[in-house]
Symmetry: C2
Subunit: 134 residues, 2 copies
């Protein structure tokens, strides 16, 4: 069921600074900053040969990463996103196993325009797991 | 300079429970538990089509993840590991840019038998970054 690791998301307090560090210190290929106002974040993609890192900054007043950054002012790894072929099948298997889906359990349209769900970190060792249908 | 994402490491309080969750709830291909006494961890590899997750459990009294689990008893994402072609070149570029290398700055032999370095999380937005020469 579990497909590719689509991305690792890192919440950062200052997106331009983080972008410059990954580019200049690690020699990574980084995108420009994109605003995703409907998701409450700004994002920079760090392109790797096999997957990507997404550096996330706060955008607007209801950003989903604001709480995380309040608890972790220096930033930190926010979530991992895995691809699945059928998100409803994945959800039903998780629910049958006793896992909890965040929100109302219905897939939302994620930052890449595809259906996504987030699993409860308490069910996966403190790790926020996003599933994205591809 | 920055190559493939080699793995994402997740520190977990109970490795067998975590292994069963990734296998049964997420349908992932998981390895058996391996003891790495020289590294103070037990590990389970979650094989993904493009990279892997490493679930890490404490082994012995001087485990490098014991402090993390004391602060995060439920577990959490511990580090990301990126491949580099030349770890000394990578280190020198990082040092020239003002980044800090953990320990004495000399590569150690990592869990995969290859030279590794860890970068200071304060230089990368609270994210512990491992570099591995491949």
């Amino acid at each position: 069921m579990l497909g590719r690791l689509n991305h690792v998301a890192i919440a950062v307090p200052d997106l331009e600074t983080a972008r410059a560090r990954w580019r200049d210190m690690l020699g990574a290929t980084v995108s420009a900053v994109s605003d995703l106002p409907e998701h409450g974040v700004q994002v920079v993609f760090v392109e790797l040969p096999n997957t990507k890192i997404e550096l996330l900054g706060v955008l607007g007043e209801d950003s989903p990463i604001a709480g995380f950054l309040a608890k972790n002012p220096a930033g930190g790894i926010h979530h991992v996103c895995h691809e699945v072929a059928d998100i409803l099948e994945a959800r039903d298997r998780l629910l049958a196993g006793g896992a909890r889906i965040l929100g109302d359990g219905k897939p939302k349209t994620g930052a890449h325009g595809k259906p996504v769900l987030f699993l409860h970190p308490k069910d996966f060792d403190g790790t926020l797991v996003e599933l994205e249908e591809v």
